[in-house]
């Protein structure tokens, strides 16, 4: 078995096709062939408002079924807060009992003497997430965007989308993070470091107001702090104290100073949607996305991301695919590949601990 368990992409230039799924009520706000930026709204969808129920029988002091006949508004009517929904004259005709709307909204339903009013609806905006050109769209289904870009899919991310100028602080991967390197140039940019994210560095990024942050790794104990952070954060390797892969740092270095998009959307299964750094490129063509799925088998020369300590997140090259299973340090016998790391060292890695890199 040489099949990959998971797949991601770290590539200098590729054709990217992103299908942005729309909620069923989603309406595109773009036209075909329209160029879009990562943070452009490409569709909107209504979201339900708050609901309030008015018990007519109670307010009109009568039988609920009879109270329905006292309605002066109908299903579908727009009403304002305090507006009369139903009216009943008392038996002596001296007083008028009123049932009024508790909110601004629309009458959705009248049933069993109860009026359901839905408050003002909200709008969910769907962003392009990738700069490019709209190539297809369908109401309630999707908007498809294509672009040519450098694409770096990374281990983990949080915080959604960002678009800004990439400012790379390191030239080499490392483990020591100096937190005092921020200056005013970093404000509003997407900052990347080749070393782990620390609490001090994070505070510095918050103070200087960066738009996004890319680090090699961080301790998971920092996660609670991130809930208050208002910009997206991505880790290229994973959790722990790990230097950035040379290949990824090299790509970031190549595009240092360019506009980049971060898509750090959350996924319950990270193998489904890896967080992405997308760097649009105007020249170059690739149809890599259209490649047949059956090709994702490891071969000699194939690039792979190693997913086991101490090389977690490192990128290497398959040099050999042994026929026989081999015994790991843990005692398990597994099929795998010999991988040459960037240091020149060659190690045996089971297929389960390798991610196929496209």
């Amino acid at each position: 078995m040489t099949s990959a368990f998971s797949f991601s992409r770290v590539t200098a230039v590729t054709g990217i096709r992103r299908v942005r799924r729309l909620p069923s009520a989603g309406v595109p706000r773009v036209s075909l062939s329209q160029p879009v930026k990562a943070l452009d709204v490409i569709a909107v969808a209504e979201t339900p408002g708050i609901f309030r129920m008015v018990k007519l029988g109670k307010q009109l002091r009568t039988d609920p079924k009879y109270a329905e006949t006292c309605m002066i508004k109908r299903v579908g009517d727009v009403v304002q807060k305090g507006e009369v929904l139903a009216l009943r004259r008392t038996s002596l005709g001296m007083r008028k009992l009123r049932a009024v709307s508790p909110i601004d909204g629309r009458i959705m339903e009248v049933d069993d003497g109860q009026v359901v009013i839905e408050g003002e609806r909200g709008y969910q905006e769907i962003y392009a997430s990738v700069p490019g050109k709209v190539v297809a769209m369908e109401v309630g289904e999707h908007v498809i965007i294509e672009t040519n870009a450098a694409l770096i899919q990374i281990a983990w991310g949080l915080g959604g989308l960002a678009w800004g100028t990439l400012k790379l602080m390191d030239t080499e991967p490392g483990l020591d993070t100096d937190a005092k390197r921020f200056n005013i140039d970093h404000r509003g940019s997407i900052v990347a470091i080749g070393s782990p994210l620390t609490e001090d560095f994070l505070k510095g990024a918050i103070d200087i107001r960066v738009k996004g942050l890319i680090a090699s790794s961080m301790h998971s104990s920092l996660l609670p702090l991130l809930s208050k952070v208002e910009f997206p954060i991505g880790l290229t390797q994973g959790f722990g104290v790990l230097p950035m892969s040379e290949r990824i740092l090299g790509l970031l270095s190549t595009y240092n100073g360019r506009e980049v998009a971060l898509d750090m959307s959350f996924s319950p299964d990270w193998r489904n949607v890896r967080p992405e750094i997308i760097i649009p490129i105007t020249s170059g063509q690739s149809s890599a996305d259209a490649r047949g799925a059956e090709q994702y088998e490891f071969r000699v020369g194939q690039q792979a991301r190693v997913l086991q300590a101490p090389y977690l997140g490192e990128i290497g090259t398959v040099t050999e695919l042994p026929d026989e299973m081999q015994q790991l340090g843990s005692g398990l016998w597994m099929s795998g590949a010999q991988i040459q790391m960037s240091t020149g060292e060659t190690i045996f890695v089971p297929f389960a601990n390798l991610e196929y890199l496209g």
Binding site: F5, S6, S24, V116, E118, G238, G329
Partner: protein, 599 residues
């Protein structure tokens, strides 16, 4: 139409047809691995013939499980020469010639998105707890629960339902012939919320409450609102009784229906007479069959990547609990949800991690990369520490529903514990399987531990409705690996004191082997696989909880992969505070169980 589709289509009687007589292919699509199993008749008996395994391909770039299924099945073709798929990748069924196709195909799955569900009931400790247990029999994600204890107004409940966007609303509550008013109020809220939803987004309603209200609720929800309505037997027909089977079967059918919308599952479902059963459902059926055949109380643990299943047959009652977000990979984050102390993991290690962060980071990385396997001895120990805590938590949660069993305290006596899932059933050494399960569950008395390294249990559970003969015969011919009989003692003594003296005399041997066991140790007595022996034990300061507190015991035991195991660590035990002593203790236990020299 499959059995499960028929069930949702309202076909009352499920026709099983004649028993299958040829080769049977069973496929299980897990979150990480897709496994195929071939059962065939050899010398007049069904046997487990071959298996294939491949990564599950429900993720990009494949987004279609058939890729993985095809690879796993081709493994079987390579091993046996039987052509199972045609050139287009379609299953050849029925068997059209010798070694061409199969007579029966069954499918189980645990991969992919769970069914999003909202549970509605009355009393939290009565109907709602029964509803929760029914829900735990399948891969359901409970996003909200409504009950009489719910302080939210109907408006807020409607809003919550609209935002939850459930695929399913499971309504329980009310004993048969009991109160109806409170249920009616709940139904009014649900009807209003469903009416406000777009027609194609309305959830299916599974009603398993007071039978007297069935017709009224069906009219209210189907005629007035137009939702898809299914009625199951009341999960709580009386305050004292619980019947989950009917609701559980419908939940399995709903899981099958949801799966048909995922890439490749529809094709796979069309090959199968039964449909796509939740793996947990089939696993539970296998545990039940084993329990009936052996007339034993059996506990089954399936430790998966995304979820952990506990299936128990205890004193004639079957229990099934799926911990949907507690597992070794996708579900690893569930282990951290209860904010456990780091010591609950580090206490099982033979080394001191550099920091608490290292331990947490390991668990988080397992969640990021759920397929990874431990490459080093240290990572194997971390993995096994996680497994212990996951099993311990899963069993604690499951036993809260076992009748007559205290939520805390010793594990009830199970004759056999069946282990499946690659961490437990495919470790580097079976000593790990036994050690992990003994540490996690702390059984007392005499227990047989059995491993399922080929993932046969769920397959056999899936095959059972079509060929009970195949299931019985495959079990008879050694489907599982018997790790051995464990005798566990309770009580306290000083560490190092001799607490067991005994003799082991294999059948046919001239001499018995005499041994002593010290308190605080776990030892393996050599006895070849399948060989019967007489085991005589004299205990001092400790008890073997079998039929009173005798000091002298005689048992008939059979050898397993690990011979016979004597666990003289007592119940409960305390870990030494000193880290080095603790490490040495763990080294000793590991060495003893895996017979490996540790550094």
């Amino acid at each position: 139409m499959s059995l499960l589709s028929n069930l949702l289509g309202g076909t009352e009687e499920v026709t099983k047809g004649s028993e299958v007589s040829g080769a049977i292919l069973s496929v299980d699509v897990g979150s990480v691995y897709t496994r195929a199993i071939l059962l065939d008749v050899v010398d007049g008996m069904y046997r487990f013939v071959a298996r294939g395994e491949a990564p599950t391909t429900d993720i990009p770039p494949w987004n279609n499980v058939l890729e993985g299924v095809g690879r796993a099945v081709r493994d079987i073709t390579t091993a046996t020469g039987r052509q199972i798929l045609d050139d287009e990748g379609e299953l050849i069924i029925p068997e059209s010639a010798a070694f061409l196709g199969v007579s029966c195909f069954t499918a189980t799955a645990s991969a992919g998105k769970p069914v999003r569900a909202v549970l509605v009931g009355l009393m939290p400790d009565v109907s709602l707890s029964s509803g929760k247990r029914a829900a735990e029999s399948s891969y359901l994600l409970l996003t909200d629960t409504f009950s009489l204890a719910d302080r939210r107004s109907p408006e807020q409940q409607i809003e919550a339902l609209m935002r939850a966007r459930p695929d399913l609303i499971l309504i329980v509550g009310g004993t048969d012939g009991g109160a109806v008013q409170s249920i009616r109020k709940q139904i009014d809220t649900i009807a209003m919320a469903c009416d406000l939803m777009e027609r194609d987004r309305r959830p299916t309603i599974l009603y398993a409450g007071n039978r007297d209200l069935h017709g009224e609720i069906e009219t209210r929800l189907v005629d007035d609102v137009g939702v898809n309505f299914i009625a199951a037997d009341n999960v709580r027909p009386t305050l004292e009784s619980e019947q989950l089977n009917s609701a559980q079967t419908y939940l399995a059918a709903l899981y099958h229906r949801q799966k048909l919308h995922s890439g490749g599952f529809a094709d796979m479902g069309s090959w199968s007479k039964g449909g796509i059963y939740p793996t947990a459902h089939s696993f539970s059926r296998a545990v039940h069959i084993l329990s009936e055949l052996d007339e034993q109380d059996i506990l089954g643990i399936d430790l998966g990547s995304a979820s952990t299943t506990v299936a128990a047959c205890l004193k004639g009652t079957n229990y099934l609990n799926v911990m949907g977000s507690l597992g070794m990979g996708h579900g690893a984050r569930g282990l951290l949800a209860s904010k456990p102390k780091i010591e609950s993991l580090t206490r099982w290690l033979t080394y001191e991690p550099d920091s608490a962060d290292d331990v947490l980071d390991y668990v988080w990385n397992k969640w990021l990369f759920p397929q990874i396997v431990p490459a080093t001895k240290n990572s194997l120990e971390m993995e096994m520490a996680m497994a212990r805590e996951i099993i311990r938590n899963a069993a604690l949660s499951a036993r809260s529903g076992w009748r007559g069993v205290q939520p805390r305290g010793p594990l009830p006596a199970f004759d056999t514990i069946l282990l499946t899932g690659s961490t437990l059933a495919q470790p580097p050494h079976y000593g790990w399987s036994a050690l992990v399960v003994l540490d996690a569950l702390l059984p007392l008395g005499i227990t047989r531990i059995v491993a399922d390294p080929y993932g046969l249990a769920a397959a056999l559970g899936g095959v059972a409705p079509f060929s009970p003969r195949a299931v019985v015969q495959v079990l008879d011919t050694g489907a599982f690996v018997d790790l051995g009989t464990v005798i566990s003692v309770s009580g306290r003594a000083r560490r190092g004191d001799v607490v067991i003296r005994g003799k082991l005399k294999p059948v046919g041997a001239n001499q018995a082997e005499v041994f002593e066991v010290q308190y605080g140790s776990i030892v393996r007595l050599p006895l070849e696989y399948g060989v019967q022996a007489e085991l005589s034990l004299q205990t001092h300061h400790v008890d073997i909880d079998v039929g009173g507190r005798r000091r002298s015991h005689k048992f008939k035991v059979a050898g397993g992969e690990l011979g016979v195991i004597l666990d003289a660590r007592g119940r409960p035990w305390r870990f030494p505070r000193d880290a080095e002593q603790r490490h040495e203790m763990n080294r000793e236990w590991q060495r003893s169980m895996t017979q490996e020299e540790l550094e």
